[in-house]
């Protein structure tokens, strides 16, 4: 491994950002609702902070700039595809510039609950142009590690129902009209998302983690892999 690996952007990046100033590490956890992302991240934060490493967390739809409006728009399901996509990109960019980049500059470990891959996958499942998405998300820095937690759709159903007693409209891809029944739609949509993620994996090379296992076993694997990333310098 290189002695000091500097960060880079996937594409055009953000104007006037000096990559060599970005110390820190960017760790991404991807996966469907019910794959255990938030549990894993909470455990990782505990572990990292106990060992004296400062962390910051980001995730989708958490920006000061547009999260409220995005939430509203999604509830009404009134936005067309390109619009929704650009709205999410705005939300991502706002957190990128106000949280992720400053935190990396300050040497923090940034834990991202989902990243551009989910945003791209959702749009690709809905037939949007991959090249357009790649250009759009060329603003994103390449993370130091990306873990994609996979869980079989059947198991995801069980976990979501035991937690919420219902299946989320968007996580079931109900807007796609794959099936009128939310249960069937969820299974079809999650399977479609997984296959897009697999194709994205070829380009972006993230780590696929089997999250059908216990939370403890998954966390053990994540810690081991993260250690090797953060101990390089």
């Amino acid at each position: 491994m290189n002695a000091k690996k500097s960060h880079r952007f996937y594409g055009h990046g953000i104007p006037r950002v000096k990559l060599e100033e970005l110390g820190g590490k960017l760790i991404v956890v991807e996966g469907a609702d019910g794959s255990g992302r938030s549990t894993q991240i909470a455990e990782l934060v505990k572990w990292l902070e106990t060992s004296g490493r400062p962390t910051v967390q980001v995730g989708l739809k958490r920006s000061t700039l547009v999260s409220e409006e995005l939430e509203k728009a999604q509830k009404g399901n009134v936005l067309s595809r390109t619009t929704l996509s650009l709205f999410y990109a705005t939300d991502f960019a706002d957190q990128l510039e106000n949280i992720i980049l400053p935190a990396l500059k300050a040497g923090f470990i940034v834990l991202s609950d989902r990243y551009i891959y989910t945003l791209m996958a959702r749009d690709m499942v809905r037939g949007m142009d991959e090249k357009w998405l790649k250009n759009l998300y060329g603003i994103a820095p390449v993370p130091d590690a990306v873990f994609y937690l996979t869980v079989e759709p059947e198991e995801l159903v069980q976990r979501n129902l035991s937690k919420n007693a219902t299946l989320d409209y968007w996580e079931s891809g109900m807007d796609l009209g794959m099936s009128r029944e939310v249960f069937d739609s969820f299974l079809k949509y999650q399977a479609a998302m997984q296959s897009v993620f697999k194709s994205l994996q070829k380009t972006y090379g993230f780590d696929i983690v089997d999250a059908n296992r216990s939370a403890h076993a998954v966390n053990k694997e994540l810690r081991k892999k993260i250690s090797s990333v953060i101990d390089t310098d």
Partner: protein, 249 residues
């Protein structure tokens, strides 16, 4: 970038571009009044006016939260919303759509703010090109005076204060507008802008605008007529109505 005509849309899109204070909004408003009076199906759309996105944009501007990247993306979101919700259906239905600013505003402004040109253009590449783009070119001093005389309080982003060009908003505005003008002129050939002399008086400009539009677009094809067949139960009503209209005419 294909035009709407080249993409087989029945409707046509006319855009006006230019600096703040170039008089383009007045010209497109007068064009709209004329087309309406001619009985043409016309719709007017303004930059930065989508209801849903507006609250986020104004919050971002008020609190000075926007960076060049988020500024660009939030305007692209606004544009996409108007494009998908209004422009595309109207153009499919054979309307003449008038746009006060189009994607070129983003190309000029966002690039002036430091966004990579390819990135900005790529983000907007879902949109077709206008069938006619009129660029209202006034001397920089003329447009600056029109704005600075009438509205002495300049807003932060409007003056390009985020670029730290000057601590004085007026000075900043002047430099910023000058750079945007350079960007516009640099793309004018590539996107077939028709350059209009915006130093000329308003009435004379409008004569030229109307002449240009009627030369470029076969306006009689866009006359308002109820194009949809009515269900049989209502067909009788329509005949009555048409008779009435004929009498009125």
């Amino acid at each position: 970038m294909k035009t709407f005509a080249e993409s087989n849309f029945p409707g046509r899109l006319i855009a006006v571009e230019g600096l703040d204070g170039s008089g383009k909004s007045t010209q497109i408003y007068l064009l709209k009044r004329w087309l309406e009076a001619e009985g043409i199906k016309v719709y007017f759309s303004e930059w930065n006016s989508s209801e849903l996105v507006k609250s986020a944009t104004s919050k971002g501007k008020k609190r000075e939260l926007l960076t060049p990247t988020t500024f660009s993306l939030i305007h692209a979101t606004d544009f996409a919303d108007r494009y998908e919700r209004h422009l595309v259906p109207l153009l499919r239905a054979g309307y003449i759509v008038l746009c006060d600013r189009y994607v070129f505003t983003a190309f000029a402004r966002d690039v002036t703010r430091g966004c990579p040109p390819d990135w900005v253009r790529g983000n907007y590449n879902f949109a077709c090109a206008p069938d006619l783009t009129m660029f209202f070119k006034a001397d920089l001093d003329v447009s600056l005076n029109r704005i600075l005389e009438g509205r002495p309080k300049l807003k932060f982003f409007e003056a390009g204060m985020d670029l730290r060009l000057s601590t004085d908003p007026y000075e900043s505005f002047k430099i910023f507008q000058g750079r945007i003008l350079d960007q516009y002129l640099a793309m004018s050939k590539e996107f077939n802008f028709v350059i209009m002399d915006a130093n000329e008086n308003v009435e004379k400009q409008q004569v030229l605008v109307r002449k240009l539009v009627s030369e470029r677009i076969d306006l009689k094809k866009f006359k308002r007529r109820s194009p949809l067949p009515l269900p049989p139960s209502l067909a009788g009503d329509r005949e009555d109505k048409e008779e009435l209209e004929d009498k009125a005419a």
